[in-house]
């Protein structure tokens, strides 16, 4: 795996973490509001 692919995968991981965080908060919001 060259470094460019690594960087791209890392950026997708970061994006995935952001989306996961938003989903968790939406689910929490649904439960409490």
């Amino acid at each position: 795996m060259n470094s460019q692919t690594g960087v791209l995968l890392a950026s997708l991981l970061a994006l995935g973490a952001g989306v996961a965080a938003v989903v968790i908060v939406l689910l929490l919001g649904q439960a409490v509001v």
Partner: protein, 576 residues
Amino acid sequence: MSLRGRAVCGLTFACLFLLVPVPAAWAHAALLRTSPQASVTVNGSPAQVTLTYDEAVEPRFAVVSVTSAAGQQQASGAPRTSPSDPHTLEVPVKKLSPGWYLVYWRVISADGHPVRGAFTFAVGPNPGPAPQFVIPSLSESAATPGLVTARWAMFLSIMLAVGLFSMRTLIARPTAAAAPRAMRALSIAFGICIVAGLIAIPIYMLVTTASFALRSVLDVAQIVPLIRSSALGRALVDLEIVTGLFGLAAAIAIRIDRGTGARSVAALLAMVGAVLAGGAMLVVPGLAGHAAQTSSAGLSLTFDWVHLVSGSLWIGGLAGLLVLLAFAGERRGEVLATSVPRFSKLAIASVLAVIASGVGASILHLPTLATLWQTSYGKAILVKVGLLCLALVLGGLNFARTSPRLVAAHARKDAELGASGAGLLRRNVTGEVLIVAGIVAAAMVLSSLPPPAKALGSLGAINAHVGPGTVNQTVHEGPYTVDIKINPNRAAAPSEFSITIQRGGKPVTGATVIQRFDMLDMDMQQQAYTLTEGPPGTYSRTTPALVMVGHWGLSFQVEPKGSAPFTVIVEDKAEG
């Protein structure tokens, strides 16, 4: 740091602490109904006592005791949630013999605050006169020093992390080539704050769950299984996960950014991920606290979020400036000349957002303007505003005097003027730090107080303040003279409420009199009773409607025969 930067820093620091949201301003679980009803005589022993609240309460943290007049415990089991209604708690009781019984309860609200209350009922057919029960304390605060400290550490860590991340990736980025060491220091500071947050959140979880369960915080093995039993605990678990995701996304975003020139697509994707995670993280405190429980939850959550985001950019940015100052090395002048003006713009926008959202949240929480000076909650806000004004005076001094002096000294290379400017600055900043410490103390006091009850906004003009103890008060309303008597005016015990109405010295007979009870210290459902006429012009009823210790709004709505109706309102203080 430039003059403008200094002034902005002083101002922003002071404002930040003034307006740091009260993330846990409380909406309490209100008791709506009980079975048996409060102060009612039931024929035969009930199988259980039920308490219905306006929100679901966790039975594992609920305490409900049913005691006889002799003080013997009559509950035969632990409280449990009713299978038919999650808002209702059921407590099985032994077979009760005729007599009076005291029900004392404590539950944890959805936002993590303990509420206590008590009421009495009688088992007939001949219960006898109501005894004077000894009621355990009805007040319990969530703002113990341990809880406040843990919460403070948690908020400070995640706010600093967000601000340091923005400082590293947005504000100071253009100086990366000039001062790579300072950039590294910013990244490390961000990492330290994330780790501190990831440690502080579980600590707060433990401390808060221990207080719900009335256990020692050292009883970890007993507390951990209970963490997810409360709404606040579940929200904190989510906060821990989301903070971890933010830390991961932000670390990647920092790592893959080349630092100079245009950002690559990969770096932009990672930035989007980090911004999403950071934004989501700062929604959680609102969801876990009072904001989600207010009637306009969407608006309240938005205010909370804007408040936290802008406050975080601000305080983290200030911390970032300190890091740059310490680690920029030889090219400090260049680094600060680039970063400080950029931060100043962000800081001014953040200050405005913090103030606007703070004012908005205050409008939502304060039912009337008068509650600003009439309630402890409002007074605490005023104390903070006063302290802010002091801090602003010092900030203004820095802006108007110290800064020009320092600029002039730099331009003229005047060492003496520079030294005097530096001395003045040191004094002012020391003063500001002391004031900010005071503002933080006021913020902690504020966060320990419940916001004024909505009933204060709808009650109307109060004719008299009465209590504690037996009341015998005369008030005048238009052409009427009204004598109000409350005896013995004690919480959780039957009191006789009676009013004698006269007009021109003659009793007003045949009127319809409705008495309403509004709890003023916390939101609770209004109760209303019709008073019955005994001696001509005297209307009375005996009821244990004062179910809690505290301030009550008592409204007597009088409709005299053939005349216009009127209302007399007194604020009563009831003690246990």
